[in-house]
Amino acid sequence: MWQAFNLMLLVVVPVILLTLFFAWRYRAAGGKGAYRPDWDRSPIIEVTVWGIPIVMIGILATWVWDKTHALDPYKPLPGSEPLRIEAIALDWKWLFIYPDLNIATVNELAFPVGKPLSFRITSEVAMNSFMIPALGGQIYAMAGMETQLNLQADEIGTMQGRNMQFSGDGFAGQTFEALSMSQDDFDAWLSNVRQSNSHLDTASYADISKPSTDAPVRYFSTVPPDFFSKRVAHFMGMEHEHNPNVKAADQ
């Protein structure tokens, strides 16, 4: 980012300074510069003023091409096998499913530090945008569709995550805590979640799906298989069923 910024400053700062300087030097009341009322072209200046932006944008363009590919949010991060997490946007909270660990949480996302995280993201409601600003960029969450994001925390700590895309009355409070912890702490956290006697099922899902603001953290010790995929798929049917336990979209 700073590279691009500095490169542009090379042009922007002189333009601002020149504007002010010309305004002062060629002022009608007492200005000193020459007056050439009919001078309106100069091939050298023309070539330069087309040339400078072209060269600059040319440099930026190659840089953009590289960076966009290097930092593609869909690109898996190098290193160990990633921790898979599935995020579902609800009104106005986030449900996180850990399919390999068979647990789920509401509004709390814990993970081991240094571990690549691979997210699949969707929405049960209006369009949301999933972001943990301290870790990286955002990606939309859309009903009936799956988007992806790969993140990794390099330090231990508590971060804020949130929905960035306005989605209704509870939008302002639609935040969650992202906890980056040591492997030991994570294991402890995991067994704590597993102790919960709530299970993610039709009834509990219907319950957390009810619109609510500043929803408290909740733990679910089990999750039905393929839960996330079914939530994505159920919108694709033509039936007018808005009830979470639709089976139709299984395959």
Binding site: A28, P37, W50, A61, V125, A126, S129, G137, F166
Partner: protein, 653 residues
């Protein structure tokens, strides 16, 4: 459409009145008072007839232009009230509610954005095009004067619907972009989104016709010798902008119509279920939306070009470059819409290509800035208010351009999208770029339209308030955006944000002073109009044809249409002392007659819109019937022109 809709009143009931909150109630009261006050004033002054024949039914492009600009200035105030309310809310809502509940805050950002874009900037631009372009190209009117009046009245009807929503019912909470599925009935069942849809649909039809009108006017009605490459830059940018309107607005009409079908008839274009796809809406919306920002800013570039040449007392530097740059921008503006949703999950190739395409637009834009810079070089610069706004623009705009390029870099966009960084960026383009341009145009051409100049001191004060106010109001938002503050946020829990938001509020207060200075400027100038009178018709030592006629111009503009033999022909004629030769004309001097088509279509548009919002279907059909009847009726009008040859040579209307 089941919620106990009655045949007579649709879903309109007493609960639509704003008794639910004092903020809403005061807003409604001010709106009502404004409307009633206006009616009372006209009656009091006994001016109904003059208003009707002189303005409401006028098809004179100059009168229509002025009405557009009056509408724009009123809506600027209305939109600004929204803005400062949001600033106040965010300045105080750290860890608490503030004074606006979420739903109200949502209506305010939605109406602010909608008003500023559709009912402030668009009418301001159209008004300036209307007043100036025929004068600049040596035409007696636009190509289709009655259509022009209809366009105005449809815009007015759209704005009227917006204002009505303040009193009856509520406005949309879905932002100025109205993204589904949130804007669908499932999430926003009330009338708000319907108000939004119908006000921009009705005015959008008017805008489309304006685009057609001005393309034909500029291509067909130029004075002899006014070759394309001799046209003033404001006319050039007006042409490009009108072409963009013709190609872009249908996309908006289609996307909002489809949204209306989803909402009203239960279709599934953009719903979550039933096979709908929200991504189609976003694509359609931004295929209009990105060109729209160039529709707004190109004419402002044109104004800056005129102003910088006039007040530097110098020929415009690099005219061909500026023309080609404008045309290139116009074409490229259709190739970048995807940069509004890099975060939708498209692949790296797609995002990179659209990012680069976006940056390419920076090239012709940069060229323009340099050309203005070299117009000032070796000139004799007079710091009249329009020139102050131009210099302010040049300094601020490059900053906005820089943040725009940063946003166009997908990996940066992932972090800054949907944050106040984006809000700062587009205000940085739209206030110094668009609004400063229009204000410069307003102060530059005001003496032409009214025969006296605007007060310089209040003009300069307004400029400084706007300039400093802008910096204070929006620079903090860049920082907040980088700190991760989302846009459209009603409350927040981050203590680091509050000081910056308070600075932004102070900035908005300075902008308020800038707006008050504009009002003062008008007031003082009207009072001193004798002293400020413009006798020559050419108060600034202008270069283009509009300065060759008296101020204000006669209704037929040119006693004799001039023959043009060069760019800046009027300026050269002044230097050489030889007036421009008169063209031979084969028809008598005539002007189009007044027509009630405009007001009829305005009423029709308002009925259709209001009826459709509230499901009062008889009213919507009545509106449609009025429109059809007016068109049929018009076809029976035989005599549409008044011969005014006998008045030729008289210098006042």
């Amino acid at each position: 459409m089941t919620e106990n809709a009655s045949l007579l009143l649709g879903r309109l009931g007493l609960d639509a009145l704003p008794f639910y909150s004092w903020v809403a109630f005061s807003g409604a009261l001010v709106t009502l008072a404004g409307g009633v006050g206006f009616l009372v004033l006209v009656t009091w002054l006994g001016q109904w007839r003059a208003l009707w024949t002189g303005w409401l039914t006028s098809v004179d492009h100059k009168r229509i232009g002025i009405m557009y600009i009056v509408l724009a200035l009123v809506m600027l105030v209305r939109g600004f009230v929204d803005a400062i309310m949001m600033r106040l809310q965010q300045a105080m809502s750290y860890n608490r509610e503030g004074y606006l509940p979420p739903e109200h805050f949502e209506q305010i950002f939605s109406s602010h954005g909608t008003i500023m874009i559709f009912f402030m900037a668009m009418p301001f631009m159209t008004g300036l095009l209307n007043y100036i372009i025929p004068l600049q190209i040596g035409a007696r009117d636009v190509a289709f004067p009655v259509l022009n009046a209809i366009s105005f009245w449809l815009t007015f009807a759209g704005a009227g619907l917006m204002l009505i929503s303040l009193v009856i019912g509520k406005f949309s909470t879905a932002g100025w972009t109205g993204y589904p599925p949130y804007s669908g009935v499932e999430f926003t069942p009330g009338v708000g989104v319907d108000y939004w849809i119908w006000s921009i649909l009705v005015s959008g039809v008017g805008t489309t016709m304006t685009g057609i009108n001005f393309v034909v006017t500029i291509l067909r009605k130029r004075a002899p010798g006014m070759l394309l490459m001799r046209m003033p830059l404001f006319t050039w940018t007006g042409l490009c902008s009108s072409i963009l309107i013709i190609f872009a607005f249908p996309a908006l009409t289609v996307s909002t119509t489809m949204l209306a079908l989803d909402r009203t008839l239960g279709m599934h274009f953009f719903t979550n279920d039933g096979g709908g796809n929200v991504m189609n809406y976003m694509n359609l919306f931004w295929i209009w939306g990105h060109p729209e920002v160039y529709i707004l800013i190109l004419p402002a570039f044109g104004i800056f070009s005129e102003v910088v040449a006039t007040f530097s007392s110098k020929r415009l530097f690099g005219y061909p470059s500026l023309v080609y740059a404008t045309a290139v921008i116009a074409v490229l503006s259709f190739t970048v819409w995807l940069h509004h949703f890099f975060t939708m999950g498209a692949g790296a190739n797609v995002n990179a290509i659209f990012g680069i395409a976006t940056m390419v637009i920076a090239v012709p834009t940069g060229v323009k800035v340099f050309d203005w810079l070299f117009t000032m070089f070796r000139g004799r610069i007079r710091f009249e208010p329009p020139m102050l706004f131009t210099i302010g623009f040049m300094c601020l705009f490059v900053i906005g351009g820089m943040s725009g390029v940063l946003l166009a870099i997908p990996p940066i966009n992932y972090s800054t999208h949907n944050t106040t960084f984006l809000v700062a960026h587009f205000h940085n383009m739209i206030i110094p770029g668009v609004l400063f341009g229009y204000l410069a145009g307003y102060m530059y051409w005001f003496p032409k339209a009214f025969g006296f100049q605007l007060d310089r001191v209040w003009g300069a004060r307004s400029f400084w308030f706007w300039m400093i106010g802008f910096l204070l109001a929006f620079m903090p938002l860049y920082a907040l955006g980088l700190m991760g503050m989302p846009r459209r946020l009603e409350t927040y829990g981050n203590p680091e944000w509050q000081p910056l938001l308070i600075v932004a509020f102070v900035g908005a207060c300075l902008i308020l002073m800038g707006i008050i200075s504009l009002v003062m400027q008008l007031w003082v100038s009207v009072k001193n109009r004798k002293a400020l009178v413009d006798q020559t018709g050419d108060p600034w030592d202008g270069r283009t044809l509009e300065w060759s006629m008296p101020s204000p111009p006669p209704i037929w503009n040119f006693d004799n249409v001039p023959v043009v033999s060069s760019r800046d022909a009027f300026h050269e004629a002044k230097l050489s002392g030889i007036p421009l030769p008169a063209a031979e004309e084969d028809s008598p001097l005539s002007v189009p007659k007044n027509s009630v088509m405009g007001p009829c279509m305005g009423v029709a548009g308002m009925c259709i819109g209001f009826g459709a919002v509230w499901y009062i279907w008889w009213l919507a059909f009545a509106g449609l019937a009025i429109a059809v009847a007016a068109i049929i009726g018009r076809s029976f009008v035989q005599s549409t022109e008044n011969d005014v040859s006998f008045k030729r040579g008289a210098t006042t209307t």
